[in-house]
Amino acid sequence: MVEIKNLVKKFDDKRVIDDLSVVLKEGRITTVMGTSGCGKTTLAMMLLGLLHPDGGTIKGLEGKRLSAVFQEDRLVENLSAVANIKMVLDEEVDLEVILRQLAEVELGGELIRKPTGQLSGGQKRRVAIVRAMMANSDFICLDEPFKGLDVETKEKVMAYVKRKIEGKTVLFITHDIDEQRYFGGDFIGAIPGPVCEIFPF
């Protein structure tokens, strides 16, 4: 369980997150929806330890292994898809295992040998997703993970992600209500300001 209590984050004088209290239940997916610039990514960054809150506390992530699909792909572009994935793995994993996972999101053949800088936006996105799914983690943050994927690929990738996150604590940020419906779980509606209601979907 991740417990967020009276969380505050300010940029200059603007309170991007203002007194947010919410619980992310263990082994469940919690979806955050809201307009652009309302603090969704800021919340994710604080949960990942990349931004320090100006007030309030986050409990339950101490010593936990984290994983994320960031809003940007954040791939090492001179390395191949396989090398990018291997970078985040704790132990040696058979190449076959990585290739199987990449194949699940429709990546294979010559594509996986190319430096990721030479891949298309959608292909890079899928590499970033497989990397996050394969990393050994207790908490996963998905910040608009399916952005830029075409409809057909998106369906397959969503099915892959749903399988991989089963039983894990996940924060899922999206603008798409259909994505929220597909993954189910809990739902956070109103950021900024105190969260009005959190309800299981």
Binding site: L48, L66, S67, A68, F70, V76, K86, M87
Partner: protein
């Protein structure tokens, strides 16, 4: 047009440009008619041909080469180490900043005289080329490390990527272009400053000493031929160094380090 055709066309163009300037030089020397003022390229080639047959020529070249290049490599090692320490520690960076600003603004002649008093003439060119290259390497590598993609570093932090992998996959590729630029600037400067130091300090058996002798005896032919030797060594070393660096770069930027 294929790549190889355009490359050979460029090569021919370069040779023609070189021949043009050699002809201008030869005609100018013939017009002046006095070797003391302007020696002809043919005369320079004759002197060079005479030199290369002597063992003393090769030992002179080796003497200067070893010292100047040692200074260059010492500067690379020290510059990279100090830049990495400075990038991770702002106090060290603040302490080193005035030191490097002072080194950069002091005239090389002042350094030469100072080092001559402190260390003598035999190691003069090592110290001078080291001091001239060090600030360039330090500044460039520091800029490279400081400009490393913050978003990639955040990704590495979230996934707990160990330092060894982070170094090879993020820091090195991001810093290499800055390092290469530093080396390119440094190589030219180490030869210019190293030879200038030898001309002032006159270490026995150095190229600088030969240039000084040429000045004493007003031998323009000797001056030109030794200058030509310096250009050839500097150019050859630069080509070799960047060929080697390119090889290392390709190795580091490939996936092979991850199996």
């Amino acid at each position: 047009m294929t790549n190889s055709t355009s490359t050979s066309k460029r090569r021919i163009q370069r040779i023609l440009v070189l021949l043009f300037w050699l002809t201008v030089w030869q005609l100018a020397a013939m017009a002046i008619g006095q070797d003391l003022f302007l020696v002809s390229p043919i005369e320079v080639i004759k002197i060079l041909f005479h030199h290369v047959q002597m063992i003393s020529f090769w030992s002179t070249v080796a003497y200067s080469f070893v010292r100047i290049i040692s200074g260059f490599f010492l500067a690379i090692i020290t510059g990279v180490l100090l830049a990495v320490i400075s990038a991770t520690n702002s106090i060290v960076r603040a302490i080193l900043e005035p030191f490097f600003s002072v080194i950069k603004s002091i005239p090389v002649a002042s350094f030469i005289i100072l080092v001559l008093i402190w260390a003598g003439s035999s190691s003069l060119s090592v110290v001078i080329s080291f001091l001239m290259v060090l600030p360039i390497l330090y500044t460039n590598v520091l800029q490279g490390v400081l400009h490393t993609d913050r978003k990639l570093l955040e990704m590495a932090k979230v996934f707990h990527i160990p330092f060894r992998k982070k170094l090879g996959a993020i820091y090195v590729p991001e810093t290499l272009p800055y390092f290469s630029t530093g080396c390119k600037l440094g190589i030219g400067l180490c030869w210019k400053s190293g030879i200038a130091a030898e001309v002032i300090g006159l270490p026995t058996g150095s190229i600088g000493e030969q240039l000084y002798q040429a000045k004493i005896f007003l031998s323009t032919g000797e001056l030109f031929s030794w200058t030509f030797v310096i250009i050839i060594i500097s150019f050859s070393f630069e080509r070799f160094f960047f060929w080697f660096l390119g090889h290392v770069e390709r190795r580091l930027l490939s996936d092979t380090i991850y199996g």
